[in-house]
Amino acid sequence: MTDSQTFLAAFLLIFQWGGDLWEIIGLSLRVSFTSVAISTLLGLPLGALLAVERFRGHHAITIIVNTMMSLPPVVVGLFVYILLSRSGPLGVFGLLFTPTAMVIAQTFLITPIVVALSRQHLQQEWDRVGEQLCSFNISRIQAMPTLFWETRAALATVVLAGFGRAIAEIGAVMIVGGNIDHLTRVMTTAIALETSKGNLELAMALGVVLLILALLVNAGVHWLTHWSARRGAG
């Protein structure tokens, strides 16, 4: 089969595919959305704290968080595997090879991204408005909701960037999820499996769906950036 025939067959498969495809896409989205939601809830307050407060070890923590943005997914996968394996500290919960394990691994990967990028945006905003807010007798902690609101467009792009990383990730979810059919198989692990089996049409079809999702995420980021620029928001 030529490359173009493979590509055509892949497109046909997308439209012909039944429940299995939607199950894989659904699980991919569920795992990614959940981990992004948890990372956002943890990461934004931490980013804000690093942006507005100065304390002993602030620089060291900032450098560590920035470094963790480029954590290798397989290392995170291995770390979470050890944590959740039967003999590990959280082994009693029996979470290994479940979607929950995949969410935990992705949360470890995405949270540093949310913390580091949000800190940058929030610190810029704090430098701009901090003195004025203090002049209104607002404490640094009280100022955080205002900072979130003022930088809402930029923070939305941070969250979308986290989602982009989560949905395209394979190393960590393969290790802690195990790519089990109907249980922990997501788009990236399914692509790896089908490619290794020589089932290129299927792998390509999944790849196209993944690309469309990535395209939608990027279009969202682009639209938000333009919308905020037009409104004078940051």
């Binding site: 701009r128 408005v129 003195e131 203090c134 002049s135 209104f136 003022e150 004078g232």
Partner: protein, 244 residues
């Protein structure tokens, strides 16, 4: 109760061991309009920020009356700081502790006072520099502070906008608000101030009533600073240069 408002007692301010403001021992009269003058980098903005409590002294203390508790006060900065919301919402944000109906009423009054009713619904961050500074002053007025700090509020404004700011600063002072303002504009200082504080190299070199400062400056540094724009009594200049 002491009439010194505020009173600096042996205040020093340094960053990473570098002294930026030194041996500040002075007091301002309650309700006065004081202008802080000095060359670039002399410490005028730091002085205002120390007074306002945005910075904490490295040594010494700033007293308000007989206590360290700051009275209601706010600050207008050289570059107006606007939140990304409408002009009206910017004022309402500063009044966040008021009940909503009062907040709306006060914000409307402030916009009217500043002649900005027609831009109430416009995004504050896209207004011109002059309009943003007018809005910043209206926001400060809405808070009805006991003391208002203005850090070079006309530095980047055209003459019309400068006149506007001066008129409104005067109006606020006449309504009982104490003003402490820094500027590079000597003519403006002479028009507005009751008293001048002259700072150079982080030290208060002179604190004098305005006319006395411009005719009989207390130190040679102040004389050198103002002589380019103002003709000063020759004998005063000779006296200053003879003094060690």
């Amino acid at each position: 109760m002491s009439s010194a408002y505020p009173k600096f007692k042996q205040v020093n301010f340094s960053i990473n061991g570098t002294p930026l403001l030194k041996d500040l021992n002075l007091s301002l009269a309650r309700g006065s309009l004081t202008v802080v003058l000095g060359p670039n980098g002399s410490g005028k903005s730091l002085f205002l920020r120390l007074c306002h409590g945005l910075l904490k002294p490295s040594d010494g203390e700033v007293l308000w009356g007989d206590s360290a508790q700051r009275p209601p006060q706010t600050m207008v900065f050289q570059k107006p700081v606007m939140l990304r919301r409408s002009a009206m919402d910017n004022i309402m944000y500063a009044l966040r502790n008021y009940p909503k109906p009062k907040r709306v009423e006060c914000a409307r009054q402030a916009l009217k006072w500043a002649g900005l009713e027609d831009i109430a619904g416009r995004m504050a961050t896209v207004l011109s520099g002059g309009q943003q500074q007018r809005l910043a002053i209206a926001r400060a007025w809405a808070l009805q502070p006991e003391i208002l700090f203005l850090d070079e509020p006309t530095a980047s404004l055209d003459p019309g906008a400068c006149d506007y700011v001066e008129e409104h600063v005067k109006a606020m002072h006449e309504s009982g608000i104490q003003i402490l303002m820094s500027t590079h504009n000597l003519a403006q200082a002479r028009r507005l101030a009751q008293q001048i504080i002259f700072i150079q190299d982080g030290r208060v070199m002179a604190q004098q009533p305005v006319e006395e400062f411009f005719t009989q400056p207390a130190c040679v540094e102040a004389y050198e600073f103002i002589r380019r724009e103002f003709v000063i009594d020759e004998s005063a200049a000779q006296r200053l240069h003879k003094e060690p």
